[in-house]
């Protein structure tokens, strides 16, 4: 059958019309359905709540700590307010004079936004009260840590199932108890426990490790055992608390090459670093070894000149200011920095008078001027006898006085308090004369 030209034309017109209609329909679909789908998608996204605290990895590979969806630079202090005359066994959490209120006020005025405690006290209600008071009254958040049995007698038994299960339960109980406290910032697992894998402090082993004749291989086996255990706990924490990051506490960067494979799930690394004026190549080394965000979870300087045998607040302020300058130079989006640092926690808020001679209670009421360790990076007083220049009882940003105030040993801010306060108000972010916006 042959169609006439008109018919063909008419057919063509009809087809064209039909095409137009289809296009219109498609256009309508595009105009209505696509935004609708997007809206549904966005609503869906919005209904999946972001964790309260999380790490954001930026396109440039830098890391930011986000709290309530806002960038947060940790400006912290280690906190262990042991009064003069007491030692580490003192339960300050239940102190009726509430030292954290006096300290919290001073901290807030200085610009501190975070405290770190190494392990919560036994009375969970008392602990919650401290966390709440600090958060609600001063906006200060709390990092809670756990020693992971590092100080257990005779030694931590990593690799031993019974020991590991017991410690893991303690950690998970801690997380379950405090995870809903709005003031909690994150968890730190361990402190300098990695040094025990090298065998010089708190040494431990397992039957399998003992069978290995090569001491170097033994160290590697220990590191893998320990970090795998941390990785296992991290996974369990993530299951019960998706709202707070988990940090691996680590002395220096030692052993992190094994952590990379053995505990890849940790959200960040919390390093204890005492390198004097600066942190050297720390930020870059971590980037290469184990590309995780870095929290300087313990650093600082003491305020006693062991060589001249007198307090030297300037020396402490000098080191701390220099250290903070480097921390700020390596925050996310820093121009030339590595961008993996999320802040720092100075050791420590207040002096602790019990630390030098822990076994002699009569010395806890005296601030000892003796040093029991040496660190050449703190060079002003390294010529002290035996090069012992680190005075454990003089690390406080605030000194303690036996004079009582509010029922507590009087707090006397040292020079570092004011120097760091000024630094935080107006941080120097780079050295090319460009100042950036003030941090939170």
């Amino acid at each position: 059958m042959k169609l006439s030209s008109n018919k063909i034309k008419s057919h063509k017109d009809t087809r064209a019309q039909s095409h137009k209609d289809t296009r219109k329909r498609q256009h309508w679909c595009l105009c209505v359905f696509v935004p609708l789908v997007c809206l549904v998608f966005l609503l869906g996204m919005a209904s999946v709540p972001k964790p309260k605290v999380y790490i954001q990895k930026l396109k440039n590979g830098h890391f930011k700590l986000m709290v309530e969806r806002k960038p947060y630079i940790v400006k912290g202090v280690c906190y262990n307010p042991i009064p003069i005359g007491k030692n580490h066994e003192y339960d300050w959490w239940s102190d009726p004079n509430k030292p954290w209120l006096v300290d919290g006020k001073l901290m807030k005025e200085m610009g501190v936004n975070t405290i770190r405690v190494y392990q919560p006290g036994e009375d969970s209600e008392a602990v919650k009260r401290v966390i709440r008071d600090l958060y609600e009254q001063y906006g200060i958040r709390t990092i809670l840590g756990h020693w992971l049995g590092f100080w257990e007698y005779p030694c931590p038994l990593y690799g031993d199932q019974v020991f590991e299960d017991r410690i893991k339960k303690e950690v998970l109980d801690m997380v379950a108890t405090y995870k809903d406290e709005p003031g909690v910032l994150l968890w730190i697992l361990g402190n300098e426990n990695n040094f025990s894998c090298l065998g010089q402090v708190n040494p431990w082993s397992t039957d399998e490790i003992d069978k290995e004749p090569d001491p170097q291989k033994q160290k590697v086996m220990k590191a893998r055992t320990y970090y795998s255990y941390v990785g296992e706990i991290t996974q369990e924490i993530h299951k019960i608390d998706p709202d707070h990051p988990v940090a691996l506490g680590n002395g220096e960067l030692i052993g992190l090459e094994y952590a990379k494979d053995s505990c890849p799930d940790v959200d960040l690394v919390a390093c204890i670093i005492y390198r004097g004026k600066t942190f050297g190549n720390l930020f870059k080394s971590l980037k290469v070894t184990f590309d995780k965000p870095l929290l300087l979870s313990e650093f600082g300087a003491d305020a006693y000149d062991a060589y001249r045998k007198k307090e030297d607040q300037n020396m402490q302020a000098f080191f701390l200011e220099s250290q903070w300058r480097q921390i700020y130079g390596n925050l996310a989006n820093s121009e030339n920095g590595i961008g993996n640092c999320i802040g720092g926690i100075m050791f420590e808020w207040g002096d602790e008078w019990w630390k030098y001679n822990q076994s002699s209670p009569e010395t806890w009421s005296v601030q000892d001027k003796e040093s029991n360790w040496s660190n050449g990076s703190y060079y002003f007083d390294i010529q002290a006898a035996g090069n012992k220049n680190m005075n454990e009882e003089w690390f406080g940003i605030v000194a303690l006085s036996p004079e009582q105030e509010f029922g507590l040993d009087k707090r006397i801010p040292r020079k570092a308090y004011y120097v760091i306060r000024e630094f935080w108000k107006n941080p120097v972010l780079d050295d090319k004369g460009k100042k950036k916006g003030k941090s939170k």
Binding site: Q200, T278, N314, I338, D430
Partner: protein
Amino acid sequence: MKKTKNQKILNFALVFCILIFGFWISCFAQEGNKLAGLTKQVIEAKNNSDLYAPFSELKDIYFKENKYSEFSEFLTSLLAKNKALEPFINYYIALSRYQQLKYLEEKQNWDEYFSQGNNYRDQVAANLEKTISLTAKNDPLHIYGQLLLWQFHRDQQDAFEEEALLNLMNYVAEYANDTSDIQPIKLTADKLASYGEKGKSKELYKIFVDKMLASNITEEELSKAALEFYKQANLDLSEVLYDAYIARITKPDNKEKVIPILIDIAKAFSYKDNGPSDMSYAEQIFQKIEELGPDGVFNEALMYLRAYNLEKAKEYRRARDIYLGLIKIAPEGAHVDEAEYKVGIIYVYVLKDIKTGKGYFEKLAQKETLSPQGASALYQLGLLAHWENDFVKAKEYYNQLLERAKEGFSDTVALAKTRLKEIDAASPIDYNLQAFLGASLKEDSMNIDAAKSNLSVSLYAPKKDQEVKILSGSYELENGCMQVELQYLWSGELGKITVPSEQLSLSPALNTSYADAGTKVINVLIISPTGAVDRGLVMVDVY
């Protein structure tokens, strides 16, 4: 009369004061004149090259009295007079603030440090940026700006350090292509070397020397320059120059001429207690001599020097080989006893080959005339038998030593007497020595290479009764803040120690001296609470 005398004294004092005041005024005026003169030179300079010297002198005047802020103010005032001076002024303001920060830290002038520190740092960075942007790449000031910028970031170990170093190296390389003034290259290399950037400094020294070679420098001038830098203890640059010099003079047909020159260079760089030495470079030259020279090029003295140099570099295996070569070519030579004894020590305590080591000790002990090393060899034979619980044999060796030593070798004899007392009292060998022997000789003992230990001695060739300091380098255990107390178990031929014995085990250093000539072996075993972590030995030759 008395009044007149007093009057005279008063007059004299008055005149003295006037003279002193006059002198002071004159100095002040001279300095003022100098400043004015230099300022005039700077303002009237016709080109940049005329500015380097007066600016440098001005800097010296102000820096001598640590007047950094005054210098900065003076420089700023100069800028108002002549805008063309801007690159120099920026550079010297930066240098002034950089030095000022160092000075404030050194003098612990904290008030100014904390109140002005950031301001000064900003000034350093900003002024250097300006200097760099205002100068051409072939201008020495450009290089000085880059160098100071790197130093500034390096001192702070900040995020810009790496970039600044990279820029510096690149700009110096570019500069070298485009200029005949090579001093900035050397100055940069010197500075890099002083900061411990050995690789980078050598790279620049190489460029510096290449530029020298390209300028038709004669062989004699090259050698003279190398020697001059050697005398200045700039061994890196001296070595690069000597390498170039050796390459230039070495031709297939003039080996005979080259060998004595190489020997002189090797001697200069070999280990010596006083004066510059680079043992590794000396050995490189010895190898070159071996390569070029005929058989027998190493005479007894040269072979001894080479072995001694290797021994001091703790290259014990190579030292043993050369000492053996020495014994072979000069079996009756002046150093043969020392060589045999050292070979024995290396076999026993470094290579754990007790049997071979004993063979060398026996050889020494059997010599008709007992040398200091022969006496020590008898003691070692006794000690090894003692350690192996062969008390009869041990006593035999110790007694033989006492008998043959007569009135001599008091240091070694004293040790033998102590060991004999231990055997007679059925008590164990001195704890430190026993621990060292165990760690060194047992099959299952720790696998620590004594050659790599960090022991050093202030004088390896002291005279009798001359004080010697032996130091175990800081042994860093990785413990973080948890300090581990280390014990240093010193043993061996310790001589007259000045540290009280109860403090000895805690001290990483000891001071001693020796009453008799001979080769003294000193041992240390480093113990942490969990066991031995390191061991080491050194040999001191007392003359």
